[in-house]
């Protein structure tokens, strides 16, 4: 299944995820237009841009929650353009969502355990007691503890505060030990205290994996990300380190011109 794949010669290092000419057309509107992306293994890569720049659409295309109109996506050299979302997750690319993605009527620990449960393969065994899942209990509780939620492990996820839901979401994603995590605005709508906590958490978990994150706000990603791609109107406007992109005249115009954020 592994096809020959030529990495972009402009980028140095090992490319884990790469998109070529990624385009998504909705009726009469091009949301993402010919985007090329190369994500270096082990890096924190940020995708930023003003509202409506196509960041989340891009994300949905990469994880196949949307079908691209044209273009290709490769993960670890393998063409994943035509795989369904669940298969992409199984390969090790796990995403989060802009609106917090927890299972509200399950306890915090159960939220994490449902991810760990994937290790059994399919769970069609409706005749077994869920006691068979207790093998995962210790790890679930440990992972809940890792993100600082141990005292909430029995709380229904729906009752958590916004910032804690995001932390739980990260714990759930981490339970799959994904090679690559895609975080969609992990800090959106958070109080400063939570932003600091989640930033630190992202830094910790990036130790041996690749992270692609969407952010609306440039300052948040300034000291967190190794590389930044700026999107505007569905196209790549600039790419580079924070210092490079923040001085880019097009970026300044897109941000300052559109809004003062």
């Amino acid at each position: 299944m592994i096809e020959a794949f030529e990495p972009n010669p402009d980028t140095k290092g090992d490319i884990i995820l790469s998109a070529r000419d990624l385009t998504k057309r909705f009726a009469g509107f091009v949301a993402v237009n010919g985007v090329n992306l190369d994500i270096e293994r082990g890096s924190i890569h940020a995708l930023i841009g003003p509202n409506g720049a196509g960041k989340t659409t891009c994300f949905n295309l990469l994880t196949k929650f949307l079908q691209p109109s044209s273009g290709t996506i490769h993960f670890n050299g393998r063409n994943i353009t035509d795989l369904p979302s669940a298969d992409i997750a199984r390969l090790g690319v796990v995403r989060s969502f802009q609106i917090s993605a927890v299972f509200p009527r399950m306890s915090v620990a159960e939220n994490v355990r449902i991810a760990l449960q994937r290790r059994r393969g399919d769970s069609f065994d409706f005749w077994r007691a869920q006691r068979v899942l207790s093998d995962f209990d210790d790890e679930a509780l440990r992972r809940v503890d890792e993100v600082g939620l141990s005292e909430f492990s029995h709380v229904m996820a729906g009752d958590l505060s916004y910032g804690r839901k995001r932390a739980l979401e990260i714990a759930t994603t981490l339970a799959l030990e994904p090679e690559m995590m895609l975080l969609d605005e992990p800090m959106a709508g958070m109080a400063q205290e939570d932003v600091t906590r989640i930033s630190a958490l992202i830094r910790t978990i990036s130790a041996n994996r690749t992270i692609l994150m969407v952010e609306h706000n440039l300052s948040v990603v300034a000291d967190l990300s190794d590389r930044i791609t700026v999107l505007a109107r569905g196209e790549v406007l600039a790419e580079g380190s924070y210092d490079e992109v923040s001085k880019h005249p097009g970026v300044v115009e897109a941000y300052i011109g559109a809004s003062h954020e």
């Binding site: 796990v94 299972f103 449902i114 769970s123 065994d125 409706f126 509780l141 029995h154």
Partner: protein, 324 residues
């Protein structure tokens, strides 16, 4: 946190085994149901039991899988027809007739489910309703269903060749075994690894896909299970009333079972039983009111949606902070 509280919160976080409260409720229920036929009219009780199983089957799909079917009468009714036909025209023994009716509902569930799960939300409900109407028109038109008359005077026969079901009391205990077995089966499904996946689908389907679960397969599986159990209820009902009729397969039957589930408390274990008992009792004891029973049901539905959306058992569960 002391060791003791830590252990306790851990047990609450990831419960192991069946809660003692549930075992007690099931035991009390069983004792009451064993005594009931000596106090109350057995046919009425059997009707309650059949609808309790039917509503619990729907609740498995709606309350735990998050899928609202508006066409469950198709499974209940077709199983009822096939059991009645097999027992009457083919002279099959009651256990085989029930088995055949249930299997037919399962097959129908596989067919309808495979198509319906491609749509979500209200569209899913509409697709199931459309298919159920097709089954209804089939029941009206087909030569062997008896049209408006249905299939009447279905023989109850001898179960396993030696249990004479013509006595209401004997049949009651057979029905009790079938229904109680079905309810325990549903309880197990809900509390299995499969059940955990179901709850996660109900709570947040896209998130579960992003964790690598192929949710369509789970949805189809639970749809077939729910259809099968609804069929088991319909098949049993056909023997109790010795009748399969268009009422069983009409869309109002689908609506009624949704109402039972909502009134009792969807997503609770015991809610559908309470809902079924309440509505069947109402129909029986207010039968003298004629068409006004429907109006009364409508009023109750509006009240329950406005005042206690979680249903009777849902409210009790919230107030007592217990999972019921």
């Amino acid at each position: 946190m002391s060791v003791e509280t830590q252990v306790r919160s851990q047990a609450e976080a990831l419960p192991v085994g069946t809660p003692r409260l549930h075992i007690i409720i099931f035991a009390v229920l069983l004792v009451l149901l064993l005594i009931a036929p000596f106090v109350l009219y057995p046919v009425f009780l059997m009707k309650v039991l059949c609808f309790a199983l039917f509503a619990s089957a729907l609740n498995l799909l709606l309350g735990f899988g998050g899928l609202l079917s508006f066409g469950h009468a198709a499974f209940f009714g077709s199983a009822s027809y096939i059991t009645a036909y097999a027992a009457k025209d083919w002279g099959l023994s009651p256990e085989l007739a029930i088995l055949l009716g249930t299997a037919a509902a399962a097959a129908l569930g596989l067919g309808i489910g495979a198509l319906a799960i491609r749509r979500q939300g209200i569209y899913f409900a509409m697709v199931t309703l459309a298919f159920a109407q097709m089954v209804f028109f089939f029941a009206v038109q087909a030569p062997f269903t008896g049209g408006e008359d249905g299939i009447q005077a279905v023989p109850r026969g001898h179960m396993f060749g030696f249990i004479d079901l013509s006595s209401d009391l004997t049949l009651y205990f057979v029905v009790l075994v079938i229904v109680f077995g079905g309810l325990l089966g549903i309880y197990r499904i809900i509390h299995s690894p499969f059940g955990q996946v179901l709850k996660a689908i109900r709570d947040n389907e896209p998130r579960l896909i992003s964790l690598g679960y192929k949710v369509q397969r789970y949805k189809l599986a639970v749809f077939v299970m729910s259809a099968t159990l609804a069929g088991l209820a319909g098949a049993t009902k056909a023997l109790v009333f010795q009748l399969a009729s268009l009422t069983d397969v009409y869309w109002t039957m689908s609506g009624e079972v949704v109402l039972m589930t909502l009134l009792g408390g969807m997503g609770t274990v015991f809610g559908p039983l309470v809902g079924a008992a309440a509505l069947v009792t109402m129909e029986n004891y207010f039968a003298g009111l004629g068409a006004w029973v429907t109006v009364l049901q409508g009023v109750i539905f509006v009240i329950s949606v406005l005042l206690f959306r979680e249903g009777i058992v849902g409210v009790i569960a919230r107030l007592t902070k217990k999972s019921l």
